[in-house]
């Protein structure tokens, strides 16, 4: 920090430096009102050590790129106030769990997004041969609301980092990808229901989930992947019994 120490109270932040191996390095940062965890990380990078690597884009909770582990809990840092997490004036910030660390606070999210592909998390229009038709789906209808329940995912990876099944079985598709498949299974305009269910039922799919609800407890958008996965369990069992899986 340049020159005089500010008179305000200070915060000690310990930030992970390194890759899979490294150490938590303490930094002293002035504590401000309404400061977010991302503000603190940005301050360290701009004023104390420009080599600190981290990722963010929108700063308003839309892009899903700023998630980190804050005091042992995965969080979106641009919308996490320091007041909420730094009871004793200490904050420990690390990269997300369950993804390879590129450097410091930046993780490689490729495996996370690859699994969306493997889970067939793509919309497949049902009227492939006549794309000019216009699907009428009343927004208030039950089916549309079921699909909407999981649609607001920002792909931040918080749920994936919180899930122990991902840690135990590195192939497990994880809460976000399965939540995405569930919205497609519920989407009446989607024409690949069978493929979606088959992908969700794989060796690494919904039946591996233990419903311990870490994903829904920490999802910053308040989504409920546990319920989505429970829905997939029910629907895959139905199609298994019908011999369609």
């Amino acid at each position: 920090m340049s020159g005089r120490e500010p008179p305000e109270p200070e915060l000690v932040v310990e930030i992970w430096r390194g890759r899979e191996s490294g150490e938590f390095v303490p930094y002293r940062v002035a504590r401000r009102e309404n400061q977010t965890v991302l503000d603190v990380v940005s301050h360290v990078q701009r004023r104390i050590d420009p080599t600190l690597s981290y990722r963010f884009a929108c700063r308003v909770g839309m892009c899903g790129s700023c998630a980190m582990t804050v005091n042992g809990i995965p969080r979106w840092t641009c919308r996490t106030r320091v007041d909420r997490v730094a009871g004793n004036g200490r904050v420990r910030i690390g990269p997300l769990r369950n993804m390879p660390v590129i450097r410091d606070l930046a993780v490689d999210m490729a495996p996370f997004f690859d699994k969306w592909q493997r889970a067939t998390g793509r919309f497949v229009p049902s009227d492939a041969d006549n794309r000019r038709t216009f699907a009428r789906v009343p927004p208030g209808s039950r089916e549309r609301q079921a699909a909407d329940a999981g649609i607001e995912c920002i792909g931040c990876g918080v749920c994936y980092a919180a899930c122990d099944v991902v840690a135990w079985n590195s192939d497990y598709l994880g809460p976000a990808a399965l939540n995405r498949v569930w919205t497609l299974v519920n989407d009446s305009r989607d024409g690949a229901r069978r493929e979606h269910l088959a992908a969700a039922a794989g060796d690494a799919g919904c039946h591996q989930c233990h419903s311990h609800q870490a994903c829904m407890s920490y999802c910053p958008k308040g989504l409920n992947p546990t319920a989505a996965i429970a829905g997939l369990k029910r629907e895959t069992v139905k199609s298994l019994l019908r011999g369609e899986l």
């Binding site: 135990w168 088959a198 039922a201 794989g202 060796d203 039946h207 069992v237 298994l240 899986l245």
Partner: protein
């Protein structure tokens, strides 16, 4: 294929759980009732001997446990140890067989 196996195991696990739930309630109730005033071989036998009801209840119980327990233990081993694959599946089947054999002997002895 493995996806179908996992899905069938899921069905077997939850299906056996549905069967086990009422049986465990009965078992807990009998146990709490039976230990009043002490337990003896004679006393257990007087309740179960020649009883088709107890015979089928315990027979069903053993069958459901033989399905439920090996699947659960297999999941734990797969997640918490490096052991996976065919050999683990065979071991789970052997565990199932062990429960069936011991269970048939026990139920047979009670009747």
């Amino acid at each position: 294929m493995t996806g179908r196996l996992e899905a069938w195991l899921y069905v077997a696990q939850r299906g056996s759980a549905f069967v086990l739930a009422p049986l465990v309630v009965v078992h807990l109730a009998t146990m709490i009732y039976a230990i009043r005033g002490g337990l003896s071989a004679e006393e257990i036998l007087s309740r179960t001997e020649d009883s088709a009801v107890w015979g089928s209840v315990y027979g069903l119980f053993v069958a459901a446990v033989a399905v439920h327990a090996p699947i659960g233990v297999r999941s734990i081993v797969r997640e918490m140890t490096p052991w996976k694959g065919r050999s683990l599946d065979v071991a789970a089947l052997l565990f199932c067989a062990l429960i069936v054999v011991l269970g048939v002997r026990a139920v047979g002895a009670l009747l």
